[in-house]
């Protein structure tokens, strides 16, 4: 997956020099990040961050696309391709294993895990990999790093890197100019969902919003149609899971 854009060539050279002699200082990092983000080059940002923290490979994934087929969930990566493919299913199952609250409480917290037994990491790369999550807007991202055998990553630096990666993703997200992923539900429909999740009945919502009960029920039916859900309960569960209410 090693893409070599024109900008990569010039910048790539300077890293190699500095990587051998000294570790990138924060000031240098910030200066270079400014350049990379101004051209909205997420890959260059990640490359810088991997170097700063002492990792050999980076992979940035977005969780909202992970359930779907294919590798669309990968924002940028320089991991070996077979590893990336193998990790897709790992990620999906890992994501389902923890609750939203636990995810909220583990922001930027690095965790270490072993690569699946059936994959062979490149030479000298540790089987252990590091991952941490951060959120930008409604999207949760995971940053995963591979590193050389024997390298110990600093917890503090990992957290910083997570935050810097979030900055990088912020530039990309802002450039996307508000991709509305609200599943095209209208404001009124969202309002109804919000009150239902608070335990209000159609009659109560009718009073709150000052419209008729039948209108409310129509909104809800339309929500269930749009979200392909069969019952009210499922529609609410869907809305809560997708952070719509």
């Amino acid at each position: 997956m090693e893409l070599s854009g024109a900008d990569m060539v010039t910048e790539g050279r300077s890293y190699k020099e500095s990587a051998g002699s000294r570790v990138l200082s924060r000031e240098q990092l910030v200066r270079r990040l400014s350049v990379a983000t101004s051209s909205n080059n997420v890959q260059a940002v990640m490359r810088l961050l991997a170097e700063y923290v002492g990792a050999s490979h980076f992979l940035l994934a977005r969780y909202d696309l992970i359930q779907e087929q294919g590798l669309d969930f990968i924002v940028t990566s320089n991991w070996p391709f077979d590893l990336v493919r193998r990790l897709g299913s790992e990620l999906a199952s890992g994501y389902a294993r923890s609750t939203e609250l636990e995810k909220c409480l583990s922001l930027l917290t690095p965790s270490f895990a072993l690569l699946p037994d059936d994959v062979v990491p490149p030479d000298d790369i540790s089987r252990q990999y590091c991952s941490l999550t951060f959120c930008v807007g409604k999207t949760r991202f995971s940053l995963m790093l591979l590193f050389l055998e024997g390298v110990i990553l600093s917890q503090e630096r990992l957290k910083e890197v997570g935050l810097f990666a979030a900055y990088g993703a912020s530039f990309a997200e802002s450039a996307d100019a508000r991709t509305e992923r609200d599943f095209e539900l209208t404001e009124r429909e969202l309002e109804c969902l919000f009150w239902i999740a608070e335990g209000k009945t159609s009659d109560e919502i009718a009073v709150i919003l000052g419209i008729s009960r039948n209108t409310i029920n129509n909104y809800i039916t339309s929500v269930m149609r749009k979200t392909a859900t069969k019952t009210r309960s499922e529609a609410i569960a869907y809305a809560v899971r997708n952070n719509l209410v």
């Binding site: 636990e102 922001l107 941490l132 859900t229 019952t231 609410i236 209410v245």
Partner: protein, 248 residues
Amino acid sequence: MGYSRSGTADGPGGIQYLRLQRASSRSDIFPKLIAMQKNLKARNFAVFRITGAGLPNKRKLVCELENWGNGAAENASQFIAGYGEALLDHIELSLLPLIWNGSENASFADAGEFASLTHRLEPKVVPSSGIAFPVRLGALGNGYVTFLATSMELGSDVIIDQHVRSCQVMMDLLALDERRSVPAESLSEREIACLQLAGDGRISEEIAEKLGLSVHTVNAYLGSATIKLDSVNRIQAIAKAIRLGYIH
């Protein structure tokens, strides 16, 4: 993937474990904020959280912690009136720190080399200059940790450090809230199973068949779960169960 507590991940036990290492009351968070304020050479801090979940027109900022002293309520409402909208919009798209210049004489905030990684708000809207660190945890507990001063000159080191610590502060706040809202009795396995299936769109009859119970029993389980979750009906119970992490 990198999930270290797989053994205890599903039950409330997993959450229990998380709690042990965190602040036990809001008074434990205060000194952390004071330390951050000193690092930034700021005069005051204020922590705002976003309530009203996903509804665009229901979202608003609430001041959770501050050290403004006497004029606190006034200061908070002045700040929210001035920058509330901008802060709410910003966190929907970006995690870059916000900085602004105040309207007081010669009040300014400068981020030096870090400036390109911050977003500047319209100047002279509120009296003090300041910096706001957005923290996006996910579905819950999002907000800003803000610091105010007459003037601020900030280096990269101090900004990134305080932003990392701001994230910790918001996680501490959420962990505290979560503990308060945990149901008095924890849900039984059967109750959780019924809630999960109901959330997946099954009607009581289907749940009964699937679990080998009678419809009345299923309804009773859903009823008792609703009471334990302090909800008025099963729909609210499902919403709360997802938010608290009992079901997926």
